[in-house]
Subunit: 172 residues, 2 copies
């Protein structure tokens, strides 16, 4: 079994997928990991759309500047924030900050558990929110914030370089 | 050794800390986990201020609506986004979305690795950004986005309830 650090450092962005389906049990555990992320005041303003329909996956790929690997993965998880729910609890700081942070923490859990199970993911943030909303039929207060294709990797990318700790950490 | 799922589900928000110092090796590994988070186009626009000075910790606690447990922890990590760095790469979507997501993914890694090492944390998002900037002497383009106290837990909170998967997941 890999240690947490090995999982964190071994995760890569995967952009080529095998067509093999994902076991239901694994998909469920990935989603379970997501909901155990922390959220502001435990508001849990997240919503996860699990997209398997081929036509819908193609629309998501188009909405994401034609990144076709989204359509290639057997599953795409669309991570959304329920802005109405977080606005009621925290007003503008909720919709502008916590909504993004809480769903990002959930997304990171998804990436890590998927990788631990031998599944590949890629955190896609570059997309038209309007087009994703249209594709999924979401209202104005359901904000799509990340598209995460999920499937068995058909590539093994090298690690991307990291800025050294000395450059990004300051002691006070 | 705990599994990743046990770590994810076992993590709690800790608001009471023992005064015991954190081993340098553990602190370094927590920061190392942070920089292995994904970021938009690998921009790595994060900056981590590791605060140990008692006076400075008290100022952070004041900035965070007098949440005094921040001053009680031996270390507070202030997670910031370098808005200039991400703006150059991605413009407004970078500063409004990716900056928050990338630092949140890094923060989640911090929480998980800390917990795996027996350290407690709490993701504090409710604070005056102006006051935190003043305390640390940060410019306008260095945005503080999370305060994370880090130390050995002096409490063992029960898990907070989670909305069931059926409520937050939709299949398409």
């Amino acid at each position: 079994m890999e240690t947490l650090m090995q999982i964190i450092k071994g995760r890569r962005s995967i952009r080529r997928f095998k067509p093999d389906p994902i076991p239901e049990e694994d998909l469920r555990e990935v989603l379970e990991a997501a909901i155990w992320a922390p959220s502001a005041g435990n508001t849990q303003e997240w919503k996860f759309f699990v997209v398997r329909d081929p036509g819908l996956k193609r629309r998501l790929a188009s909405a994401a500047m034609e990144q076709q690997f989204l359509a290639e993965a057997p599953v795409v998880i669309v991570v959304c924030a329920d802005l109405e729910r977080i606005r009621r609890a925290y007003g503008e700081r909720g919709t502008q900050v916590y909504a993004l942070q809480d769903t990002a923490a959930a997304a990171q859990n998804i990436l890590l558990v998927a990788h631990a199970k031998g599944l590949g993911t890629c955190w896609v943030g570059a997309f038209s929110e309007v087009q994703v909303r249209d594709a999924l039929g979401l209202g104005q207060m359901m904000r799509p914030l990340a598209l995460i294709p999920l499937g068995y990797p058909a590539q093994t990318p090298s690690p991307r370089p990291r800025r050294p700790l000395e450059e990004v950490v300051e002691y006070r």
